[in-house]
Subunit: 114 residues, 2 copies
Amino acid sequence: MAKHETSLNLLFSALGDPTRRAILSALAGGPRSVTQLAAPHDMALPTFMGHLKKLEEAGLVQTEKLGRTRTCSLCPDALQPVRSWLEEQRDLWEGRLDRFDDYVTKLAEERNDA
Amino acid sequence: MAKHETSLNLLFSALGDPTRRAILSALAGGPRSVTQLAAPHDMALPTFMGHLKKLEEAGLVQTEKLGRTRTCSLCPDALQPVRSWLEEQRDLWEGRLDRFDDYVTKLAEERNDA
């Protein structure tokens, strides 16, 4: 599978979970320690770490260990393939609507010519 | 969980698979029968139908049975929650950068005043 497709699979799958989306929203405010990030979520730490790992694998989050604290930060450009895919879909759809417009115009012209 | 969150979960999870994204791109060109849609994909029909079902559950695709043919079409507005979520993330991130700008400006002013 193309690298681009694999990366879209990881990105979309990572975004398909409310805890992981909440982590991204929290990190949009700046880097946070794992403890700070986990605090609002009512789940066992290993489960929470599993969510962080998915975000890291998708390239959405990076973590760094400074002394005894693991700090997480956002990789904001990582969402770009998702934005590009959505734009492609819109272009495909609008291309179709344009072609439909052309077809209707052509039909109308043919009717006027008849 | 809020309805909006559930809908984002279903949408992002549905998009996290290359076969399902290819189905959406194909349907952007107009409605297709299941047979037409399945043709380029090297998989058993039940597996392919499973992918279609995920897209239907997320509200991205609707299917209609006309005689013996099941026809699928795109629900293009269904991607709107995904677009809105991405815009929210960008706003959060840019809000943070603006605050950082303000902070740097304030520091510079304080240094000039000193």
